[in-house]
């Protein structure tokens, strides 16, 4: 079901007219209310009136995570604190956290967008939503909660943790929709199994998963383990929270971005050049309806691509691919941008599970070389040399085909790639020495 049929299926031309109007008023607002933006615009020799078309957005400076940290905690707010009704913060694993605020109208907008998202993911008024996203400073729990109430579904605010009790609730309360991180869901399924039953035997129909990167293989696993259709949800507190983009359960092929509230761009993370539709790069967002915490050209550091092709569900909003990695992990090899996650997708074609791998970059005679070490899992192993060599050749060919770089593929023994806190060290760049 499409929750907001007028806006979600709006013809492109009308949508862009709304975007421009909303963008212009957002720019006027931040220029007047947020010293950071006024300073940045002045440095670029711009006033809000210079932005006359959506194309002109590219004239504006970017906003980075560091900018938000520099203005910790409330420096980026565009309204006085008496208008702020809610505060969230992202965890500060590296550096100080970033703090965001919401006016009453922002909460209302967010609730509406989350209601849209839940509907796209298969939820209706009659559903019972088991919400296992954490409630608290993290936007996941409350974001879904308000959206579920707005939609009129019954929400069980179970939050994260206390796994055994969650499973009893799942059994007794009969929820039909699960909202959770994919990794926690698989943990729930395992614990349920230990308790003697399968989540597939419960009432679940749809799962709406996000807040961490996951893969197509994981989708298959989740759908089989729970007997559901699984969709991907995307959001980040700096832009709003969950509900910035959502996959429709009809296509399960890319996430519709709610473009009447956010304008997406894809840029080359090095040159900062805007990339055309279909090309992979860093996702950049501009919010065009937020009051307390508007954000202009925010560099998410998430890697994806944008696809304008029409969707079978009827929504006209552009789709972004599932986020495949972070810009922090990017390598430039002979001038080609390479993300470890792209290599991972290639490897997944040759193996049922994702093998552990490591990229080693060297410079020989002023030329970059890439070696991809792949641990020989049971599925990759063959007892014939020829077959193992074919596996190496095939992976190398796939990498060349999909990424456009030549790589030497080397099969190595299981557990031979150095691990750091259980995770394989993905990249060794010897060029920096």
């Amino acid at each position: 079901m499409i929750y907001d049929i007028d806006f979600e299926t709006m013809p492109r031309e009308a949508l862009e007219a709304i975007q421009l109007r909303r963008l212009q008023s957002t720019l006027e607002n931040v220029y007047a209310k947020v010293p950071f933006y006024q300073k940045k615009f002045k440095e670029a020799g711009l006033v809000p009136g210079d932005i006359r078309s959506l194309k002109d957005l590219s004239l504006l400076p970017f906003t980075t995570k560091q900018d938000l940290r520099d203005n910790y905690p409330y420096g980026m707010f565009a309204v006085p604190m008496e208008s702020v009704v809610r505060i969230h913060a992202s965890s500060g694993t590296t550096g100080s956290p970033t703090v965001v605020g919401y006016t009453r109208r922002d909460i209302d907008t967010w609730s509406n967008l989350m209601a849209r998202a839940l509907s796209a993911g298969g939820a209706t008024r009659g559903d019972i939503i088991h919400n296992a996203y954490g409630y608290g400073l993290f936007t996941g729990g409350l974001g879904v909660h308000y959206g579920a109430e707005k939609l009129g579904a019954s929400v069980i605010p179970v939050s994260g943790g206390n796994t055994k009790r969650q499973i009893v609730i799942m059994k007794d309360f009969g929820p039909t929709i699960l909202t959770a991180t994919p990794s926690y869901t698989l943990h729930l399924a395992e614990v349920a199994k230990e308790m003697g039953f399968s989540l597939a035997d419960l009432n679940f129909k749809f799962g709406i998963f996000g807040a961490e990167p996951w893969s197509e293989n994981m989708r298959k696993e989740l759908e089989e383990t729970l007997g559901i259709d699984a969709v991907d949800i995307y959001g980040l507190s700096e832009v709003m929270g969950p509900g910035v983009a959502i996959e429709c359960h009809e296509a399960k092929n890319g996430l519709h971005i709610f473009e009447d509230h956010f304008i997406p761009e894809i840029i080359d993370p090095i040159t900062e050049e805007i990339l055309p539709y279909g090309e992979t790069g860093e996702l950049v967002f501009t919010s065009i309806t937020k009051e307390a915490f508007p954000i202009i050209r925010y560099r998410t550091r998430d890697i994806t691509s944008l696809h304008p092709e029409p969707c079978i569900c009827g929504r006209t909003h552009i789709r972004m691919k599932r986020v495949s990695g972070r810009t922090d992990d990017m390598l430039i090899i002979r001038g080609v941008n390479v993300f470890p996650s792209q290599i991972e997708s290639v490897l997944m074609k040759s193996s049922d599970t994702t093998p552990h791998y490591q990229l080693v970059v060297d410079r020989e005679n002023n030329l970059d070389t890439l070696t991809v070490k792949v641990e020989v899992s049971e599925t990759l192993f063959a007892d014939e040399i020829r077959m193992l060599q074919n596996t190496e050749k095939k992976i190398s060919k796939d990498i060349k085909e999909y990424l456009g770089v030549s790589a030497k593929v080397m099969l190595v023994e299981p557990k031979s790639i150095a691990r750091s806190e259980g995770k394989a060290v993905r990249v060794i760049d010897n060029r920096k020495r």
Binding site: V376, F381, D383, E384, I385, L388, L411, E413
Partner: protein
């Protein structure tokens, strides 16, 4: 008529073979035959042992990728042309030998391990030609 062979992926074969044999001997697994195929980058160690289950378990515990393959233990006359006769028979029947290696001497003939692309057809053919194919239980007591 099938004998189970275990195989292991080795990255650099030098000291690693000794590691494998040490692990197996510590688990009281007896190695009946061992063959190594390698390239400059990696190798595959193939083993016939008296206790596959234990061997697989301890090798996995030590982080090796263990594969299992059905092979045939075939009696080869220990005289000129003995092996040749078998290979010609197989070639005529269009059966490929992926690889082979010696298991041991048994009286007047040698016992060799063969890996065929089609083990059922191969065993049937050898049987019909009066060439002995050992059962797994017979191999164990050789």
């Amino acid at each position: 008529m099938r004998v189970e062979q275990i195989s292991i992926f080795l990255e650099n074969t030098g000291g690693r073979i000794a590691e494998v044999t040490t692990i197996l001997s510590a688990a009281s697994v007896n190695i009946r035959a061992l063959s190594l195929a390698d390239t400059t980058d990696f190798g595959v160690l193939r083993l016939i042992v008296d206790d596959n289950e234990t061997a697989e378990k301890v090798l996995k515990e030590n982080g090796f990728s263990v594969g299992k393959t059905s092979v045939a233990a075939v009696a080869v006359e220990d005289k000129p042309g003995g092996l040749n006769r078998i290979l010609i028979l197989l070639a005529k029947a269009d059966i490929n030998v992926e690889y082979m290696y010696a298991l041991q001497q048994n009286g007047d003939h040698a016992v060799m391990i063969f890996r065929f692309d089609n083990i059922d057809d191969a065993v049937k053919l050898l049987d019909s030609e009066g060439i002995r194919v050992y059962k797994a239980s017979e191999v164990a007591s050789l």
